[in-house]
Symmetry: C2
Subunit: 588 residues, 2 copies
């Protein structure tokens, strides 16, 4: 046992912190950081946010009495130090336990975690509920909402602030300002925070005070003693206050301090590794999308690449952003704004292409419906990472088809390969009739020849191979599974199944579906997402009044949590073997 | 022709305004108000917002050059004066044309209307898109976003402000502050605006300046000349500015000036009529809900009645709000906050009952999913007005089932009558396992005896009458239609159809559905909402691998716009005659 681990050995719960002196507490912060760096280097995860919040977490647990006093962590991707302090350090000290706890707060792990949280900008709103319940039931505990400067730009956070400001009782917002969202911050709020930092919290027009909050600025947000003193002052306060602490994102790991964006969340293996150089000729959906956008820009098209605070997901690195110049917009963590702004851009003849992760498009149902679809604004939205995965329960990407495809006027497309994707994208940015969403596959495949489809003929499926008895509709990324299934059916049953690539998620090719009735008994749908409200159910409805049998395959309506993909595929009967079992039962 | 109509006669387009002097312009405002009062008294509509904005609309059209310069009206429920000025006055002067134009902006009516808008807090975001497209394409026009003080509390508006503040080009926000949302305003933003009004725009901490906006306060927001001078000053400005105008909601109609809340939107016939006295013993879902909530409060339950700015829809009048006291929360126009706060309340043992109109729950998909359902917080949400209607395209209420019911963990209930509704509500507020949504029917019906169902047994349908051959599942309000259909089937085909009340929207009673297979050939589902992603499709999927035929009835995936209900029912084949036609075809 090295001496550097000696402080942490003494800490098994928050009360142990109070037995330590200031020097030991600061050392503890360093020890926790070392654990976090090693863990993230081994299994990946959120690095920068956790390194920066170590001292603040120690100070919070030193001063407040969790879990009687309640912390709500925004996104909760900065909860690693909190987990270490609240009895879960073995998830960080022992590599065998690295997967034992989630990277987010999880009430089933500990009473110190109040909510499962993984999306941004929710902490203040959730905490107002805790505070109001406390007031109605005669409680006296402190309610503390932590929120980052990046999350502050999300509408839900701002709605929360508006309500929190008038609570008339204890409510403490710890604003963890590390001058970064995932990428650089954007917008008026960012500039307002910069001004506060630059003037040690003293400015002419204080945003928080304007809303009615009491306000304290703490420049030394990585100094335990300073933070303890401040938190002791605000503990048991009888009104809402914003404690604005200035912290260093990535603290303790130089590359992360300097280069904050790539170390916000990182894959394993960053230590000692060379720069993650992608070969020059490497091609994936990120690279072909970027190339397409830059080409259109160079051709003089008023194309606009947009995202909401997560450019890295789409490979929108600094070089790309610089090349796009004023044709690149990061709206910050503000997906509602992104969709509405895209609608406005498209209405005026610009060609917005908004990139969003499947899980985060969930924040925009009404904007998709009212701002975009009702207005038939010809904007393009690219949905990334849609599909069944081993993700944490807060970042599942199985719900986008169900959410988007039941909104009128939307054209939701599911390409199966690079050629289709590029043709769809090109059609979308050149047309002026429809709001178009394209579900970008994760893995690139190739058709081998140019796609010449005219996608303005809406809801026309593509007949790949005309067979009989059984027809398989393989949607998007699951077209590959459909091909495999077709072969398995041939091998096992000797049937030449019909293979169809629907391409359009949002409508039924009635002509083709009707034509199947003459020589097919069974239609099988495969989709990489939730069955409920999805694509397959519409096919089931279509054939409801006929003799055609239908089997729909996709994921169940459930929040899964880091479940191995093989287990999910077997649970959802998504393997050729299990589907064949079902086919034999149905056709017997 | 009376002399009071003489000014309006001269105004057929915005440029005609510039031929009038100030006195005439002020008279014009009065004339427009008279028309609006008479029209709303005849067909109903938004009264207060339109009366208050008359002068500002005149001044805007006097100064700016619409449609080259572009106005985006938030919600656009205050666009009546705009419509009168922009060539649509015959929709107000001639009662025969009262229904010719919608009560909202509509691009198909006029080039002066940029977007279809009916939900709140969208104007700034939409307008940022217009402004950015202008900048990219070398345009020079003014972009003007109008927004009310009430709408300012919605997250999308705040996301919009954050982005608008850094536009570096012409962007004019006209903040129409009439000191009222639909009901009283709520929150820190409201108090901030009050302070600005009380100090003529000069305060210590200016919210808008903090965000980086230029800012002008105009106290005389109902004086044409003042407004024209201000708008002339800001016209062609090269940066974002907030023009904060103080107006009188309901101006020109005393009862609406004094009693702002009921005259925000009103049914026809308010003039000369006595107070709309509801008889003391009158019972509807509003009254029984209020009685239930007050009873629980009196019993000492930590019940909380919640809404987002529309208490009137639920009959939450001032008397009720006063009685509920601190157990009543209006979060303002902030549905995301409402759902998240309800989750927090429920987590801490309070019993939130959040009331929301179907059309507005759309603003909370991610909050329902992440803040509520993922956390299994036992909050209760009551959805009002869900169903097919003659509503404007911006206020359709047919999408809630599709949106809510495909989210995991949610229990969405469809009561068919008062007794079921109260039993479900009572079960919901007393249980601690599920987030529960109840779809409150519009018209009250009675079962005639107490409902003794234990709703903790999830997804158990109620067999009303066991028949054979055909089974009808009548969901919620459409249970009545199912009864009628059953009788029609008996009369026409001599078949005793099985009648089922599903009650649970979010799950299938597999046991009962399987049992139907033995002596039924056809299952019919009836639901008062969109088919796509709805209840019926899940029944179709369930029977996909069997010989059971299924017919699903509900509305299509479309935005309808004030279409007569009889036309919609016939389009959707929702009449017994049309369904019988389908049955005969399927069973032949």
């Amino acid at each position: 046992m090295t001496t550097t681990a000696s402080i942490l050995e003494m800490v098994n719960s928050p009360e142990d912190l109070r037995k330590l002196n200031m020097e030991e507490l600061n050392l503890l912060a360093d020890e926790m950081r070392e654990l976090i760096i090693n863990k993230v280097n081994t299994i990946g995860g959120h690095l920068g946010p956790n390194l920066g919040i170590a001292e603040a977490t120690i100070a919070l647990h030193y001063v407040f009495n969790s879990p009687v006093d309640k912390f709500v962590f925004d996104i909760s991707h900065q909860c690693y130090p909190h987990k270490i302090i609240t009895g879960r350090k073995e998830g960080f000290t022992n590599p065998e336990n690295y997967h034992k706890y989630t990277g987010f707060t999880a009430p089933e792990e500990s009473a110190h975690d109040i909510f499962k949280i993984g999306h941004t900008s929710t902490s203040v709103s959730l905490a107002t509920g805790l505070a109001k319940a406390r007031d109605l039931t005669g409680g006296k505990e402190n309610i503390i909402a932590l929120i980052g400067d990046g999350s502050l730009t999300g509408g839900e956070a701002l709605e929360g602030l508006n309500n929190a400001a008038v609570l008339n009782s204890n409510f403490i917002i710890v604003l963890n300002d590390n001058d970064m969202s995932i990428a650089e911050n954007q917008g008026g709020i960012c500039e307002m925070l910069t001004e506060l930092r630059e003037h040690n919290g003293k400015v002419e027009n204080n945003f928080f005070k304007a809303l009615g909050f009491d306000y304290i600025y703490v420049d030394k947000g990585n100094d335990v003693e300073t933070l303890i003193n401040v938190f002791q002052k605000v503990k048991d306060i009888d009104h809402p206050i914003v404690v604005h602490i200035h912290t260093l994102k990535g603290k303790g790991y130089k590359p992360a301090e300097i280069n904050k964006e790539p170390f916000h969340w990182t894959l394993p293996g960053f230590m000692g590794a060379k720069d993650n150089q992608i070969p020059a000729n490497y091609e994936d959906y990120n690279s072909v999308t970027k190339d397409y956008l830059l080409n259109k820009l160079n051709e003089g098209m008023p194309i606009v690449a947009m995202n909401a605070a997560t450019p890295g997901v789409f490979g929108f690195d600094k070089e790309f952003r610089n090349k796009m110049g004023s044709h690149y917009i990061d709206v910050g963590i503000a997906e509602q704004q992104a969709v509405a702004m895209a609608s406005g851009l498209a209405k005026e003849g610009a060609k917005p292409v908004l990139c969003v992760m499947s899980s985060f498009i969930q924040r925009t149902y009404d904007q998709l419906s009212q701002d975009l679809a009702l207005n038939n604004s010809p904007a393009t939205i690219l949905i990334y990472w849609g599909g069944i995965s081993e993700a944490d329960c807060t970042h599942l990407c199985t719900f986008d088809i169900s959410m988007i495809s039941n909104i009128p006027n939307m054209v939701y497309l599911a390409p199966t390969c690079k050629e289709e994707y590029l043709k769809m994208l090109d059609w979308s940015v050149k047309q002026n009739e429809h709001p178009v969403v394209i579900r970008v596959p994760f893995t690139m495949t190739y058709m081998g020849y140019e796609d010449t489809t005219d996608y303005s003929v809406i809801n026309k499926y593509k007949m790949i191979e005309q067979g009989n008895e059984i027809a398989i509709l393989g949607l998007g990324a699951f077209f590959e599974n459909a091909k495999t299934l077709k072969q398995a059916i041939k091998n096992e049953l000797g049937i030449d199944a019909t293979l169809i690539n629907p391409r359009f998620i949002t409508g039924i090719d009635k002509e083709m579906m009707n034509s199947l009735k003459s020589n097919h008994k069974l239609v099988i749908t495969l989709e990489d997402g939730e069955l409920d409200g999805g694509f397959g159910e519409k096919i089931s409805r279509f054939y409801g009044d006929s003799d055609m049998k239908v089997l729909n395959y996709g994921s169940f309506k459930e929040f899964t949590d880091r479940v191995p993909i093989s287990e999910l595929y077997s649970r959802y009967r998504l393997t050729p073997e299990l589907i064949l079992e079902d086919i034999k039962r149905v056709l017997k």
